[in-house]
């Protein structure tokens, strides 16, 4: 059996992090292929339920990434998102879900290099954590 290849679900905003991911790709920066990206118009519309669902279904990590504070296309959606992530970090660890499987970052549209580095770092970290045991478990 080879090394565990984690699956990471990334909710990224259209205006900043998705654009950064695009830039990383067109710049041919090397990044591991472990991320399944979901483009949202804004991180402010990532309802906690989608993050919970992903983790319960066995995603090895969830990344939420949007514009830097002050740069949000919708003025402050990213700051609302930060509160929601804070909320989930209060709730999920109480049921034994590892807090390190939920990440939030700010990555601006021009920061392709930062995006590639973030993904490389996250994949390495999640590999070290090992697979999310819920993936092959029956969750009621």
């Amino acid at each position: 059996m080879g090394e565990h290849e984690p699956k990471i679900i990334a909710f990224v905003c259209n205006w900043c992090t998705y654009t950064a991911a695009d830039l990383a790709g067109t710049s041919r920066l090397i990044q591991p292929p472990n991320v399944r990206m979901i483009r949202m118009m804004c991180t402010g519309m990532v309802d906690p339920k989608y993050i919970i669902k992903a983790l319960l279904e066995g995603a090895d990590a969830v990344l939420v990434s949007g514009c830097h504070p002050g740069d949000c296309h919708y003025i402050n959606g990213n700051l609302k998102a930060r509160r929601r992530i804070k909320l989930l970090k209060e709730i999920l660890p109480r049921f034994g879900l590892d807090e390190r499987r939920l990440k939030m970052t700010w990555i601006g549209a021009s920061e392709g290099i930062d995006f590639a580095e973030t993904i490389r770092g996250l994949v390495a970290e999640v590999k070290a954590l090992g697979p999310n045991a819920l993936r092959n478990q029956m969750v009621l």
Partner: protein, 382 residues
């Protein structure tokens, strides 16, 4: 700025005396309507009624140890648009706190409402109350419930105990009420107290020509003692529940009897969505999707998403949870929902320095933000 007056209790019957007071309030034209708990003509059944005729108040009994629904939801329904009429609503402390949450979510208004808050010793679960009141009669059950006050504050009758939510409730005295009806630490066989707590309350207090009196000295100590006992029970409950749900497997065990009926969500006064995502088709997946999941895991419990449902509800409303326990009351299978939600709510509310129902001025924590906060969430950057 509190003012206190006495309602004299005649023939050791606080129920009829309180009813008399409310009758005067409605009959005197101070309010156009009164929402208050009353015994229905059906045996063993207490529900809020909207009264406009003071002659029709025979069954009115806000002291009844029954808590079939959290009336914040009906007050929300009555106040979501202006009526030009004044409504007095007689509520338990947790109903007021739930209503405050709804007002902040723009699902109700305090403008035309006078909040009359009752001291609260707790109430039985629906099943226990129906049995007790069925055996002994509704009003008799109320009188027996308070018979041993002020010395015995447990409110226990025979073999039945008040619901766990009430045992863990540290808010037996209403907050944010305009007028408060107090009986804790008061010789209830002789008197009840009415206290004006706000400008609105003062105005009514004057118009009702109540005679002022001193609050009995014993009251504060009696309340403090009750609250202390409740806190101790609550903290034990937090510990036990945390231990019983410490990982996903234990959580599954804890929720094991849940059948996804969503009664807890229907009964919850602060589950504020007009249409819950769990009745929409958002998670109504393609049949082939279920088969794929089953194939991956070997077997799949149907319906899916029990744990997911409860975790989502925790994320959506735990910052507004006021701990009334209607979720547990509504559960057909005895899942200790209240214990779980209060335990998590204590953490989520503390995280945002928020307490549900404390103040109509404090915005709900997920409706606001600060530019610099929680930098640990984004790896120290903000």
């Amino acid at each position: 700025m509190a003012k206190t007056a006495k309602i004299e209790v005649k023939e050791q019957n606080p129920v009829t005396s309180l009813r008399g007071f409310l009758q005067e309030l409605l009959g005197g034209g101070q309010v156009d309507g009164l929402l208050v708990a009353a015994h229905l003509p059906v045996k063993g059944s207490v529900m809020p009624v909207l009264v406009t005729d003071p002659q029709r108040m025979d069954g009115v009994d806000p002291l009844a140890p029954a808590f079939p629904i959290n009336a914040a939801k009906v007050v929300s329904r009555l106040t979501r648009k202006p009526t030009g009429q004044r409504l007095a609503v007689v509520l338990r402390p947790c109903e007021i706190r739930a209503f405050i949450e709804l007002v902040k979510l723009k699902q109700g208004s305090l403008d035309e409402v006078v909040l009359i808050g009752m001291d609260c010793l707790g109430a039985y679960g629906n099943v226990d109350y129906a049995r007790l009141a069925g055996e002994n009669g509704g009003q008799e059950t109320t009188l027996r419930f308070y018979r041993d006050l002020p010395s015995n504050m447990r409110g226990a009758l025979e073999d039945s105990e008040i619901s766990p939510a009430c045992k863990a409730c540290e808010h037996p005295v209403p907050e944010n009420a305009d007028l408060q009806v107090a009986f804790l630490g008061v010789p209830m066989d002789r008197m009840l107290l009415v206290q004006a707590r706000t400008e609105k309350g003062m105005e009514l207090f004057r118009k009702l020509r109540l005679t002022e009196c001193e609050e009995p000295k014993e009251r504060q100590a009696a309340v403090a003692e009750l609250v202390e006992g409740r806190r101790a029970y609550r903290d034990r409950m937090f510990e036990e529940t945390s231990r019983a749900t410490a990982d996903v497997e234990k959580l599954m065990e804890y929720l094991g009897r849940c059948v996804n009926c969503y009664n807890c969500r229907v009964a919850c006064p602060v589950c504020y969505c007009k249409e819950c995502v769990f009745v929409t088709d958002v998670f109504d997946h393609e049949p082939t999707q279920y088969l794929r999941w089953a194939r991956r895991k070997g077997l799949l419990k149907m319906p899916t998403d029990t744990v997911f449902y409860h975790l989502t509800r925790l994320a959506h409303m735990s910052t507004a949870c006021i701990g009334c326990g209607q979720c547990s009351n509504a559960c057909p299978n005895g899942v200790p929902v209240m214990e779980l939600f209060r335990t998590i709510a204590a953490h989520t509310q503390r995280a945002f320095d928020y307490e549900a129902g404390r103040s109509a001025e404090e915005p709900p924590p997920l409706s606001v933000f600060r530019e610099k906060e929680f930098s640990e969430v984004t790896g120290g950057k903000d």
